[in-house]
């Protein structure tokens, strides 16, 4: 594909693509920002000082961090198991790990409710008798959030594990390192960046979950209302300012996450290209 000759088709395609993206994503996004700041920046900040809003933000942050921590540990564990260990049914597990990407969030909420609801769930009543409330409470929100963002760490780490192969680990073993030593000194450092990307993506996804959380939370103001639920409620209660303000905050965090991953990735690529002789 010669750089010098640009056929008209190239320009047409470029314009079509840019136009599509402008109309579908960019312009609407810009409008949200302008709507959010219609009453001035001061109003926006004032909205965030409201206790109800603060509680929602705090809950969202808590649930997101917890869900991310859980998915970090189990995500890395699943990745290792999928790549380094042979067992019957491995292929099915590998496919199932992707399931949360294809399942509707409402179905996720329903599924968790059917099992963990204190009234009618399979395990719910038992857990209740132990004093553990899941549905309509924070643990439920954490579980729902963990469910939907489950595959993200795994999808980042698995290809990297495949790529680096087992040779370094074999070398470490031949030098006397035990399994745990090999894991902490060799395996983990070599998947470091994949884990970072996975964590950032999981956090972003967790902060934004709506459908599943709506089902399991019961949406009790101040207790189980997350930031996304707050956006819906405020808008439906004609508090458009408030809705747009929180929406703007959430959108900013999402875009920030994308930018971070993008910058980190291009920097990692650049050092890779420089180093290899």
């Amino acid at each position: 594909m010669g750089e010098s000759r640009r056929r008209p088709f190239t320009y047409v395609l470029r314009c079509a693509v840019v136009g599509y993206l402008l109309l579908l994503v960019v312009w609407p996004l810009v409008l949200v920002v302008t709507h959010a700041f219609e009453g001035g920046a001061g109003t926006v900040l004032g909205l965030f000082a409201e206790p109800g809003t603060l509680a929602a933000l705090r809950l969202t942050a808590l649930a997101a961090v917890l869900a991310t921590a859980i998915n970090l540990v189990f995500g890395v564990a699943i990745s290792l198991v999928l790549v380094r260990v042979q067992f019957p049914g491995k292929r099915i597990l590998s496919a199932l790990v992707d399931l949360p990407l294809a399942v509707s969030p409402v179905v996720v909420g329903l599924a968790l409710m059917l099992v963990y609801s204190g009234r009618t769930g399979w395990f719910g009543p038992t857990l209740e008798s132990w004093g553990l409330t899941v549905i309509f409470s924070t643990p439920g929100i954490v579980m729902a959030t963990a469910f939907v963002s489950l595959p993200l760490v795994v999808r980042e780490v698995v290809p990297v594990l495949h790529e680096i192969g087992t040779e370094q680990e074999q070398a470490a073993a031949s030098l006397g390192a035990s399994g745990t030593q090999t894991f902490w000194r060799i395996t983990l450092p070599s998947i470091k960046w994949a884990v970072v990307y996975g964590v950032v993506l999981t956090l972003a996804r967790s902060l934004g979950e709506f459908g599943a959380v709506k089902v399991v939370s019961g949406n009790v103001l101040g207790q189980t209302r997350t930031a996304t639920l707050a956006v819906e409620e405020m808008y439906l209660n004609f508090d458009q300012q408030g809705a747009y303000a929180i929406a703007f905050l959430l959108a900013s965090v999402s875009v920030l996450a994308i930018l971070i991953v993008s910058v980190l990735r291009s920097r990692a690529e650049r050092t890779e290209r420089k180093a290899t002789p």
Partner: protein, 308 residues
């Protein structure tokens, strides 16, 4: 080759990487020496350096995965089946529900077809074209994936709602469903096709050109077959996402029965009306679609791995 800043890269369609762990290299042919064995030393099982730990790890992982994912999803199917097939059928075929499902399937299909074309076009521009501001496009593509769905609804509302500067008042109409689906599924085909396109050897296309193939023919007969699995994977994900989409429709579509109500909204109403069996029935339908999609992804990945 720059790796994309993708949030939705399907690992399934990435070109398989180099030597699998432990495999021996096929040696150079020896001068004049006859090859006694023509075949390699068979597949080597990966040397697991976490032997006792791996068994424990597998067990704990499976336990957690079951408690979080498998058991709840099984509960959905079990609850739907509890009343027997007649009950299931009844719940799924109420007029309102049927309409919702039909709208959902129609919109998901239509938008998936749109994405196949648009997604491939966008991936092409990202990989083959260069112009100032192209990097910004990369970020834009990922926005729908990272954005909370409720915010997505709000975002679309600002341009296509009642106060639309473009005069497009699609809120509370069936068009809102198509619009919302198009938004949230935007990245899927793009991100699966992009890496495959980027890795395509220019040599193959040059060879085709030297043999007389026009650009269109080269695209149709050389490029397209190579990216077809990637497109399929992206399309499958796009379809599944559309089928299950909820958050972006809450504010945008108005959830009007028989007009703009989708399957996921039906499920939520059923839950709110304490009709868990009914909710589970529709949910099972959606779940079957999800499983089918996962199956497609697995097949595609297998096909690519074999070809690579």
């Amino acid at each position: 080759m720059s790796r994309t800043t993708s949030l939705t890269t399907a690992r399934e369609t990435r070109a398989p990487s180099s030597a699998r762990p432990g495999s021996s290299e096929d040696g150079l042919s020896d001068d004049g020496a006859p090859r006694r064995t023509a075949h390699r030393a068979g597949p080597r099982r990966p040397v697991s350096t976490l032997t006792r730990t791996s068994g424990l790890g597998l067990g704990v992982t499976m336990l957690w995965f079951s408690l979080l994912v498998l058991v709840p999803l099984a509960a959905v199917v079990a609850t739907a089946a509890a009343g027997g097939p007649a009950e299931f059928w009844r719940a799924v075929t109420t007029e309102q529900t049927l309409h919702a499902i039909r709208l959902t399937v129609l919109a998901a299909t239509a938008v998936t077809c749109l994405n196949v074309v648009a997604g491939t076009a966008i991936a092409w521009v990202l990989v083959r074209d260069s112009f100032p501001g192209k990097r910004a496009l990369e970020v834009v593509i990922d926005v729908p994936f990272a954005l909370p769905t409720i915010v997505a609804g709000l975002v679309l509302l600002s341009l296509y709602g009642s106060s639309s500067p473009l005069g497009l008042h699609w809120a509370n109409t069936p068009w809102s469903v198509y619009l919302a689906f198009a938004f949230v599924t935007l990245p899927f085909v793009v991100r699966t096709v992009q890496p495959v396109l980027a890795e395509l050897d220019a040599d193959v296309e040059e060879a085709a050109a030297s043999l007389g193939a026009s650009r269109t023919t080269t695209f149709r007969r050389i490029v397209l077959p190579s990216i077809a699995p990637a497109i399929a994977a992206g399309a499958a994900l796009s379809f599944a996402r559309g089928m299950g989409e909820y958050g972006s429709l809450v504010l945008l579509s108005g959830n009007l029965p028989f007009t703009s109500e989708v399957a996921s909204v039906r499920i939520l109403s059923s839950i709110e009306n304490d009709n868990l069996a009914g909710a589970a029935a529709v949910a099972t339908v959606l779940l079957l679609v999800s499983l089918a999609v996962i199956g497609v992804l697995d097949v595609v990945q297998r096909r690519v791995a074999r070809r690579g």
